[in-house]
């Protein structure tokens, strides 16, 4: 029984792992083409992503900080995908919640602890509301959620730009940004020198809660059944429409949480160009992570690490453009999409193994 479970987990991570390895090999080839030292680049990439040179200045800490919003937007995508909704509205929900966090951070004044909690809840509500829109459109009018969330993402990007430029603009500097939020609105940080803090704890708790929700609760079961087979759900009496709307609300709330954590824990304000695609990173993390909360957790950290390593290591230390990091991620996604390529290879390796085992067993018997 346990063995079977382990086998299943191994099967699930085998393809992403192979894809990442292939992506790294390709990176090596590309670095070799630019004429830079290949082995050294690998070393630099990893030490700047996951290494720990000094106790006070650990790269892994920054990686975890950068992974936090990706974990949350990734979970948001997992909840939607598992319910059969291809919503990529995480970016929009994240931005709308960020506006709310920025605004509430300096416009209301509450005691420490209360202030943060109020903002967290408000941001989840804003994200949920922004997720509710495509959900309702889908269920009531049959609007494709992929299209509606793309449009809503664009709207949110423009709204946050407007808010930063005009109503919430702090001063007349060259780059627009909102005022710094109150100290009572900021999330505590574990280590000075980085922004790694309570946000990460929130993300870890969210990973566990999403797992429990999807696999251990009635509502999660309904969502998964409706997501996997609409006809089956209808046949069994599952209220699919309710499940779909609920999925979009929860998905929105999780993306909203990402916005809250990013504003309260890292930037402390919102500024022009706030949209950096963390929502889309979440979608990627969800796909690479086999649409599983634990998978998302691992992939988000790898992801953040690769980006950081490419930026701090490759670019600053070796002068290799950091875009290479993004390129590798692109390749990895491509390799996952081409997973059939691995399946054939894995199958033949397996059958070779079992055959040789069988032969051995037979030989022993004689």
């Amino acid at each position: 029984m346990k063995n079977k479970k382990l086998q299943k987990i191994l099967d699930a991570i085998l393809i992403p792992v192979l894809a990442i390895l292939s992506g790294l090999v390709l990176m090596g080839i590309m670095i070799a083409l630019t004429g830079k030292p290949v082995w050294e680049s690998y070393g630099v990439l990893f030490s700047k992503a996951f290494g720990c040179e000094k106790a006070s200045n650990c790269a892994i800490v920054t990686t975890l900080e950068r992974a936090t919003p990706i974990i949350l937007t990734g979970l948001s995508a997992v909840v939607a995908f598992r319910s059969g909704l291809f919503s990529i509205g995480q970016e929009g929900q994240y931005l709308m919640a960020s506006i709310a966090a920025g605004w509430l951070g300096y416009n209301i004044h509450l005691p420490n602890g209360v202030h943060q909690s109020v903002i967290l809840v408000a941001c989840m509500a804003v994200g949920a509301a922004y997720g509710f829109i495509p959900g309702v459109l889908k269920v009531k009018l049959g609007v494709n959620e992929l299209l509606s969330t793309i449009v809503l993402n664009s709207i949110a990007t423009l709204i946050i730009e407007y808010m930063v430029q005009f109503p919430m603009r702090a001063d007349v500097s060259t780059t627009a940004h909102s005022p710094i939020i109150d100290e009572t609105a900021q999330l505590p940080i574990f280590m000075p020198g980085s922004k790694w803090g309570v946000g990460f704890i929130i993300a870890v708790v969210a990973v566990i809660l999403v797992f429990i929700y999807l696999w251990k609760t009635k509502s999660g079961y309904e969502q998964r059944m409706a997501g996997q087979s609409k006809r089956f759900a209808l046949y069994g009496g599952v209220p699919s429409d309710k499940a779909a709307i609920r999925a979009m609300i929860i998905s929105g709330a999780l993306a909203g949480l990402a916005g809250a954590v990013e504003v309260m824990g890292v930037h402390r304000r919102i500024m022009t160009g706030f949209s950096t695609g963390l929502g889309f990173d979440g979608v990627t993390a969800a796909i690479l992570g086999q649409t599983h909360p634990f998978g998302v957790f691992i992939v988000a950290i790898l992801f953040a690490g690769l980006k950081l390593g490419a930026q701090l290591g490759l670019q600053l230390k070796l002068g290799i453009p950091r875009e290479l990091g993004a390129t590798i991620i692109g390749f990895i996604i491509l390799f996952v999409a081409a997973s059939k390529f691995y399946e054939g290879a894995i199958d033949s390796v397996r059958s070779w193994f079992t055959k040789s085992k069988k032969v051995k067993a037979k030989g022993g018997g004689d």
């Binding site: 079977k4 251990k216 079961y221 998964r224 059944m225 996997q228 089956f232 046949y235 009496g237 599952v238």
Partner: protein, 519 residues
């Protein structure tokens, strides 16, 4: 006579599922011969044929065509060697015409331009040559299934196949279409073609084949001339034990009505009337057989009764309660069980495990969830009970079901639906595509439920099944009840004429006429 095809010692082991699909299988076909390949679901018939057609590589074994050893590593090799396959699920382009589909990939062209005229002519000639009339210009999506199959056969013949593999060709056909197909097969054999006919309906074997090969658990357990064998004999070889082809049924006293449909009308997906003004009831301890050629409104009627589709007019009653407006869940809670016609898409979710499949209609009950949380332990206990009491040997609690054979999948559906003592059971084509062993199981179970006092509505296009199980027979024709018969006195002829839209009085006048003539 020379052997058109010989397969020797074919062995195939699937490591991913740990299945010995073929174990040293031998098979021979002569020219002008029809070979029936029979066996239960998962016996290895399809694997063997996929090996012959180059879709799967065998671990060992040899293939000879006309006495010459050949290597078949790809369907192209198979086609070159004159082997053609008509798959169970047709591989046609619905929006293309008949001619375009038949000619696909080998279009006659002038300087790269297609010539529809030429295409139609080629297809017309081909159809005439084999006496298989088709309209080359008709679009595939407008054709009935039997016609589509004919297009598939022509496609294979155009590629000059001499050995035709038909993979369960009758599974999707109406009785009339089956008869036509049988004629086509016999005719092809007469013209010198070899036909391998995969099926698990033994009656078809007796009807069409010269020779029969029986497979069980990947092994070839018998090769016989059809004239030297009979149906019970073949059934025993297939299943490996004695099989009741017609289950025993005692007469019992029926109780009060458990379900009633009053003046029910339903539209199909296109908004056309599928069922108009139908009324009937089902009593406790009674199996009502709803006979009819498929496509006469059965699907819509069943979906309305189960609550999956809204109705246009009329009322439904369960135990004298009006359930017309009740949703699926309420109906199920009130004691309705539903074995759907499509177990792969509707009856089961193949992407999840056995446990989650078994609780789809009861996860809301306090036994399986509390405070919004699923009670994993009692769910797996329930799964164990179902597996045990319906002896679904292949299914294991907590494990995926996607690898189970059709018969075992249906056992999962039946086990789920009939656990919990439903008062009214809708069984829609409950044995479609099942082998004799599984059919026996389903039939036995339905009769047990009837004897327990449940009302059963059995919807089936298999006349045999209706005759064997029903206490009362209703015949559906073009969305209306064409007639009602007492199963004790009804003959197949009577049901048949009603299925075709005739009246019982037609039959009587016919008989009277023939009676007079014979005098």
């Amino acid at each position: 006579m020379a052997l058109a095809l010989e397969m020797k010692g074919i062995t195939k082991y699937f490591s991913s599922t740990d299945v010995q699909a073929n174990d040293n299988v031998n098979l021979t076909v002569e020219a002008g011969e029809v070979l029936a390949l029979v066996g239960e679901n998962g016996a290895g018939k399809t694997t063997l044929m996929n090996i012959l057609y180059g879709l799967i590589k065998p671990d060992s074994g040899e293939i000879f065509i006309n006495g010459e050893k050949v290597q078949i590593g790809h369907p192209d090799d198979a086609i070159k060697n004159g082997i053609g396959m008509v798959h169970q699920h047709f591989k046609l382009v619905p929006s293309f015409t008949v001619a375009q589909n038949i000619i696909l990939g080998m279009e006659p062209n002038k300087a790269g331009f297609l010539s529809p005229k030429e295409e139609n002519k080629v297809v017309k000639e081909l159809a005439d040559k084999f006496n298989l009339p088709v309209d080359p210009k008709a679009q595939i999506r407008d054709l009935p299934v039997g016609m589509q199959q004919r297009v598939e056969i022509l496609k294979v013949l155009l590629r000059e196949a001499k050995i035709l593999i038909l993979d369960e060709p009758t599974a999707v056909l109406t009785p009339q279409e089956v008869k036509e197909l049988m004629d086509v097969v016999r005719q092809l054999a007469k013209m010198g073609y070899s036909v391998i006919f995969i099926t698990h309906k033994l009656i078809e074997v007796m009807e069409v084949a010269d020779k029969v090969s029986v497979m069980r658990a990947g092994k070839n357990v018998g090769n016989k001339k059809v004239s030297d064998t009979n149906i019970p004999d073949l059934a025993r070889m297939m299943v490996g034990r004695e099989v009741l082809l017609r289950v025993k049924k005692d007469t019992i006293q029926r109780g009060k009505p458990v379900f009633e449909a009053k003046d029910v009308s339903v539209s199909d997906v296109h908004g056309l009337a599928a069922i108009s003004h139908v009324s009937f009831n089902v009593h406790e301890g009674e199996i009502v057989g709803l006979a009819g050629v498929s496509g006469n409104g059965q699907t819509e009627l069943v979906e309305v009764i189960s609550g999956m589709r809204p109705l246009d007019g009329g009322n439904l009653y369960l135990n004298e309660q009006d359930i017309t407006q009740a949703n699926v869940r309420d109906r199920r809670n009130a004691g309705v069980a539903h074995i759907p016609e499509d177990r792969m898409e509707v009856g089961l979710n193949l992407q999840t495990n056995l446990d989650e499949n078994l609780i789809i209609s009861r996860y809301n009950q306090s036994e399986f969830s509390k405070f919004g949380f699923l009670l994993g332990k009692s769910i797996s206990r329930f799964a164990e009970t179902v597996v045990k009491s319906f002896s679904i040997a292949a299914a294991k609690p907590g494990e995926d079901i996607s690898m189970l054979s059709g018969g075992n999948l249906q056992k999962v559906v039946v086990g789920r639906e009939l656990s919990g003592q439903p008062s009214f059971i809708i069984a829609n084509q409950p044995t479609r595509g099942l082998d004799v062993g599984s059919i026996e199981f389903v039939h036995k179970t339905l009769i047990e439920e009837r004897d327990r006092g449940a009302g059963v509505l059995l919807v089936s296009v298999e006349l045999e099944e209706i005759m064997a199980l029903a206490d009362r027979i209703l015949v559906l024709f073009r969305g209306q009840i064409q007639g009602e018969l007492d199963a004790k006195t009804a003959t197949e002829e009577e049901v048949g004429i009603l299925m075709a839209g005739g009246k019982l009085s037609d039959l009587q006048t016919n008989q009277a006429k023939s009676g007079k003539e014979s005098k």
